[in-house]
């Protein structure tokens, strides 16, 4: 074999390996979703969504957990978006490049990799105990906000970095202040990227279980939360609870709840993709 043939062979080999690797992921996903659909699809109806949890599997529904998840989602979004975007903007546009900002930067990236249960412990100590919020929706949202804050900061910074320098120059050269430039040029241009990051981070928060269990979210709540100080459950915890029950009916319930949870995350990711494409078109 000469070297050209050798390279061609390597090229082929790599291509097949890549195809195989892609297929593994895809096949596993299809098998998993297929399995869940077979188990759970028959169980989904309107009463499954509107029923409170019960000891009998066929009377049981996800209402409290679903409302809990929606509460958590909205409250977390309200807390984390202003803080995360502001922090990203500050780091990218205002902070001087020195050792302190370097340390800050590395730590924020590291924070994104800290296991979520650690955030649960932090939330338990700070929000539940010291701030005395109890095992409330608010305490859960604050904990999840901490968890996804680094993701949003990093996404914001990346989106801002991608805004062409020439646009900022043009703005400043016309007499714009920093604030004008951020408000009229940088944020609109980076908006798609920021929004995508925010939605993906929130969809991760919706699927989190461990930190909320640590904070004290309940597996069984008889009522849906009505204000931020109420106790709550969320879909992943409800699923976890049902899977650990012996009756087969609960396994079906778990599968059905997983379908709903997947649907929520898929819809959120779909919205993220939609915004990204829309923005890309507008901003070329």
């Amino acid at each position: 074999m000469n070297s050209i043939q050798k390279n061609r062979f390597k090229d082929r080999l790599f291509m097949y390996w890549g195809m195989f690797a892609t297929l593994i992921g895809l096949v596993l996903l299809v098998v998993f979703i297929g399995d869940i659909l077979i188990d759970g699809l028959g169980r989904i109806d309107w009463s499954f969504i509107t029923n409170l949890p019960s000891r009998k599997p066929d009377k049981s529904g996800i209402y409290t957990a679903l409302i809990g998840s929606i509460w958590i989602l909205i409250l977390t979004a309200f807390i984390v978006i202003p803080v995360g975007v502001a922090a990203g903007l500050y780091l990218e546009e205002y902070s001087k490049k020195n050792w302190l900002s370097g340390v800050l930067e590395i730590n924020i990236s590291n924070l994104a990799g800290v296991p979520s249960i650690i955030y649960g412990l932090l939330g338990l100590e700070v929000f539940v105990r010291i701030m005395n919020l109890g095992a409330s929706v608010l305490a859960g949202s604050l904990t999840l906000s901490l968890l996804i804050l680094p993701i949003i900061i990093v996404a914001t910074r990346e989106a801002i970095k991608a805004v062409p320098k020439s646009i900022q120059d043009a703005s400043y050269a016309l007499g714009a202040s920093k604030w004008h430039t951020i408000w009229y040029q940088i944020l609109p241009a980076a908006g798609g990227g920021i929004l995508t990051g925010v939605i993906l981070a929130l969809s991760r928060a919706v699927g989190e279980t461990a930190p909320l269990i640590v904070v004290g979210a309940l597996a069984y709540v008889p009522f849906a939360p009505e204000n931020p100080m109420d106790e709550f459950s969320v879909l992943p915890i409800q699923i976890f609870n049902w899977i650990s029950r012996p009756q087969h009916g609960f396994i079906e319930n778990a599968a059905a709840a997983i379908i709903i949870l997947l649907l929520i995350t898929f819809i959120m990711n779909g919205i993220a993709v939609y915004f990204r494409n829309k923005w890309q078109k507008k901003w070329k």
Partner: protein
């Protein structure tokens, strides 16, 4: 930076200027040095620029033309390692004094960049941007100004029917004229141009050169260019830079026909750079 009616009257009688009201500014540069970190990019430059003239900055790549140009609207302020010494006076006011409001300064001194850089917004919004950030809300005033600026930049006829169209849909040459219009809408007294035609085709280039010729009646213009023909066609004065130093500065005719320095001659005739 304000010119009172008295002063204008003065100028008319003393300098025997044209009938037009002269709003352009004069620039004085005194002992200016610039560093990027440890690297000295500008070395002890002095220069006086008269109002209503076009001055061309020429010199080999990396000699500091852009650095020097960006001193006049303080665009170098954004570079962390940048350090400047000396004085730059515009109509007698040192623009590097502490209390100078940089945003106000930049309304007075517009800039056109090498690559057309329109905002990803409509044509109208591009031209109106400078007014919008000044907090001007008067719609009628803004519409008039936008039309006037687009006419001055010789773009009005081409875009008047679709001002709502995205600026990014324009051709490169049109985009650059839009960038000029955007600068004119703020009504500065000085316009800085850093190789404004280097990314354009010959026809667009000659349009912009004609434009500069027109604009000189009202503005003081400084233009960086690598194109010797362009420098000799459109400028009244030429400054030749070489590795951070101002080698020669004088009437364009003189520089191009009978330069004092060998280096200048070599560069202009294409033997260096």
């Amino acid at each position: 930076m304000e010119i009172t009616m008295e002063k204008i009257a003065d100028k008319k009688t003393v300098v025997h200027q044209t009938n037009e009201v002269n709003q352009a500014s004069k620039i004085e540069v005194k002992d200016v040095n610039v560093w990027y970190g440890d690297f000295q990019a500008i070395k002890g430059i002095n220069m006086n620029i008269k109002p209503n003239t076009v001055t061309a900055f020429i010199g080999p790549s990396g000699c500091g033309k852009s650095t020097f140009l960006r001193l006049f609207n303080r665009m170098n302020d954004y570079i962390d390692t940048h350090r400047m010494e000396g004085k730059i006076k515009i109509n007698g006011n040192n623009i590097y004094k502490k209390k100078v409001n940089v945003e106000e300064l930049r309304k007075e001194i517009g800039m056109v960049f090498q690559k057309p850089n329109p905002f990803p917004k409509s044509i109208f919004e591009n031209v109106a941007y400078g007014l919008k950030i000044q907090g001007i809300k008067d719609k009628k005033f803004i519409i008039e100004r936008v039309e006037k600026a687009l006419k001055q930049a010789d773009l009005w006829e081409e875009v008047k029917d679709n001002l709502k169209k995205s600026a990014l849909a324009l051709s490169g040459g049109q985009q650059q004229r839009l960038c000029i219009a955007r600068t004119l809408a703020v009504e500065p007294s000085i316009i800085l141009m850093d190789e404004p035609t280097s990314a354009l085709d010959p026809i667009s280039t000659s349009k912009i050169e004609n434009l500069i010729f027109e604009l000189k009646k009202k503005y003081t213009i400084i233009i960086v260019t690598h194109n010797m023909q362009q420098a000799s066609r459109i400028s009244d004065y030429t400054a030749f830079f070489y590795i951070g130093e101002l080698i020669e500065f004088g009437k364009t005719k003189k520089i191009f026909t009978n330069p004092e320095h060998k280096r200048t001659e070599n560069y202009i005739t294409g033997r260096v750079g």
